[in-house]
């Protein structure tokens, strides 16, 4: 039996029809996979954002697990409270899982995420990183890469998009003391499921960041979500790795390294980088970032 056989993915669907995600939504695919890995014995807390908007409708909930949406910035703290309550009820068999976007994680909810990790709550925090505030119309976030044209960092006559690099939140989570930190991609479903399952077994704070290709914001055909995710990984811009107790323990090796242009040119929000010669410096910088990732994570 091949290791990557489709049969090895749990059959049970815990994120079902009823949601209104865009065609090709990477987050819907990732959410399905995450819940296949966690199984039923969870309580999910979701921050305001795309996921809550397309999967949190009154009377049309697609969640087959207990699910709560509080606010944009407090999913980690609410999850802390749920976990504390479960302790007092002696129901520590139930795992609390946060599913939040990058805006709710990197920016507005960062303080409370840091507090949750520091207090060592037994919570698995999954950040669905589509690299912008996509729910509100593709504004830049702390997760947006350098050179990206968003609606609040648009490309223009004198602009080549976002001028700052993105935050390295996984590194911050390691420094914060998370027991397990990993990155994943819905384009690598077996890897994603394995990492979620591993985090489920750990009694302590864990953080998994999932790269989310978004046809709507990143601008690519909705049939290409999985392919785009794979190309992003193959450039080194989205490194997949695991850090346990502060030590790098695994990374997804790149079989054939691609230049960053392979990824950038497929995404509409980088088209300005190829419209004139001015984009070359940005591409060069992003290539440097990718190369640095390859070296740092031994990809």
């Amino acid at each position: 039996m091949a290791i990557n056989a489709i049969d090895t993915i749990p059959k049970e669907e815990l994120f079902v029809s009823g949601h209104t995600g865009c065609g090709g939504c990477g987050q819907a695919i990732a959410t399905k996979l995450v819940l296949k890995a966690t199984g039923k014995n969870v309580i999910v807390v979701t921050a305001t954002g795309c996921l809550e908007t397309f999967a949190g409708g009154y009377l049309i909930s697609p969640w087959e697990v207990p699910w709560m949406h509080p606010l944009f910035e407090n999913a980690a703290a609410v999850a802390s409270g749920v976990e504390a309550a479960l302790k007092t009820k002696h129901r520590e068999d139930i795992k609390v899982v946060v599913l939040a976007g990058d805006g709710g994680t990197f920016d507005i909810g960062f303080g409370m995420l840091s507090g949750m990790i520091e207090r060592r709550h037994n919570v698995l925090y999954v950040c669905m990183d589509n690299q912008a505030y996509v729910n509100t119309g593709y504004q830049r976030s702390g997760a947006t890469m350098y050179g990206t044209a968003t609606t609040t960092t648009p490309a223009g006559k004198i602009s080549l998009g976002k001028v700052q690099p993105n935050k390295d939140v996984p590194a911050m989570m390691v420094a914060n003391g998370a027991d397990y930190v990993a990155t994943a991609s819905p384009s690598y479903p077996w890897d994603l499921i394995r990492k979620i399952k591993k985090a489920m077994e750990i009694k302590g704070p864990t953080y998994i960041q999932v790269h989310i290709p978004c046809p709507t914001a990143h601008v690519f055909p909705e049939s290409k979500t999985i392919e785009i995710g794979r190309i992003a990984v193959e450039t080194g811009l989205v490194p997949l790795y695991e850090i346990e107790k502060g030590k790098l323990t695994s990374s997804e090796k790149i079989k054939q390294k691609r230049p960053v242009e392979d990824y950038l040119k497929r995404l509409g929000w980088y088209k300005h980088l190829f419209a004139s010669g001015d984009g070359a410096a940005v591409i060069k910088e992003l290539q440097r970032v990718a190369d640095e990732n390859i070296a740092k994570f031994n990809l």
Binding site: G56, P66, H69, G81, G111, G115
Partner: protein, 397 residues
């Protein structure tokens, strides 16, 4: 029945919370709330209180933690004041909207800027519209008793709203007075373990905090308003049941004092009630027909009860320890709105006093009554909002 001890009221509040057996407590320090959460931490450290005590990273986190705990079906508590309550505001609206019966203490303190640690009601009044019930207490024993009543009211299946017990900073939180601590078995009888109607559990998955739109949001608000309305009769019932079991009654939604034949009625809240009562006794001895309506609940607002209490007076003076800048005292505005459609209603004098910790003395009360008498004599109220106790020297230049 219970054991009476002289103690700081903050400890009394902590003792009340302990007696309510919360399963999750979240705290973040802010003056003048700190002693409450410190006492609770010590009780947990001593093994006297079995609960998850979570010192959090902000008031926003504290409110969120108890929100999550309550959604998971357990009894939860937090406390804050001033800026902390402002920081909690978004969560408190969310908590009310998700109908979770969390109890919190608001240790009343002024809002910044200018920064001040002294007492007024600006902080808790800013949460007026949030769906969190608000109860204002008068003294040490009521500070203790009200917290036990608060859980019973909030957790009533017909209410299911958070409630904030508003306790004046310093004059209550830091005062030492005798408090009767009730016997645990009787508190357990009065307040049985919390049985939530629904909660987050894999045994019965529900979706909580979903998105509504124009098809249902208005009805949702209507139902919340009905719950607030229902809370009025329930609050009276809880106070009566408490009285029956423990022999103490601090008022239901309001409490009247010497109002029977009063021509002038004073409406006030919180720790100044005692001072107002003493001033009323003095003035009564001089033949001035003045009485008091202690406004115990601000939300739900006891409009009918206030109308009934003041309908035979000629003028009422409403003391506000807050100001809605650009309008006036918020309690006075609500009282005026309640009375407007009532035929032959008394004159209403809005009095801004006790702001930023400015002391409200017997003379302040006499001053207010003199202004009310002037309104009666002239048949009109000159100023919608009278500032009582302003020092003109401060405002020179």
């Amino acid at each position: 029945m219970g054991k009476t001890e002289v103690m700081e009221i903050s400890r009394g509040i902590a003792e009340a919370i302990k007696a309510c057996r919360p399963q999750v407590i979240a705290s973040f320090p802010i003056t003048p709330q700190t002693h409450i959460i410190e006492h609770l931490a010590q009780m947990v450290a001593n093994g006297e209180l079995d609960c998850e005590y979570i010192p959090s990273d902000s008031e926003f986190a504290s409110a969120s933690i108890v929100h999550g705990a309550s959604a998971a079906g357990v009894r939860a508590y937090t406390a804050s004041a001033s800026q902390g309550l402002l920081l909690m505001t978004e969560v408190l609206w969310n908590m009310a909207g998700t109908r979770l019966p969390v109890v919190l203490t608001g240790a009343n303190r002024a809002l910044s800027a200018p920064i001040s640690i002294q007492c007024d009601h600006q902080d808790t009044f800013s949460l007026r519209d949030s769906g969190v019930m608000q109860m204002y207490v008068e003294d040490a024993q009521e500070s203790y008793d009200a917290h036990i009543q608060a859980y019973k009211l909030a957790e009533d299946p017909d209410v299911l709203l958070p409630i904030m017990v508003c306790v004046d900073g310093w004059s209550l939180t830091h005062a030492w007075e005798p408090i009767e601590l009730l016997a645990q078995e009787l508190v357990d009888k009065f307040l049985p373990p919390y049985h939530p109607v629904q909660y987050l559990t894999p045994d019965n998955p529900i979706s909580y905090g979903t998105a509504y739109d124009d098809r249902a949001l208005m009805e949702y608000r209507y139902i919340m308003q009905k719950a607030m309305d229902c809370a009025k009769s329930k609050a009276v019932k809880v106070a009566d049941e408490f009285n029956e079991m423990f022999g103490r009654h601090h008022g239901g939604l309001i409490q009247e004092y010497r109002m029977d034949d009063a021509e002038i009625g004073i409406l006030a809240m919180g720790s100044i009630i005692g001072t107002v009562k003493v001033a009323i006794d003095e003035m009564r001895a001089e033949g001035i027909k003045v009485g008091l309506v202690k406004v115990r609940f601000y939300r739900p607002f006891p409009a009918d009860e206030i109308i009934k209490a003041v309908k035979d007076t000629r003028c009422i003076a409403v003391i506000d320890r807050n100001i809605s800048l650009g309008a006036g005292g918020a309690l006075a505005a609500d009282v005026m709105a309640a009375l407007y459609n009532f035929k032959n209603h008394p004159l209403v004098l809005g009095c801004l006093a006790g702001i930023g910790g400015r002391e409200v003395t017997r003379n302040t009360v006499r001053n207010i009554v003199a202004r009310a008498q002037k309104a009666i004599d002239t048949g009109k109220v000159e100023e919608m909002n009278e500032w009582v106790g302003l020092n003109p020297e401060i405002m020179e230049d």
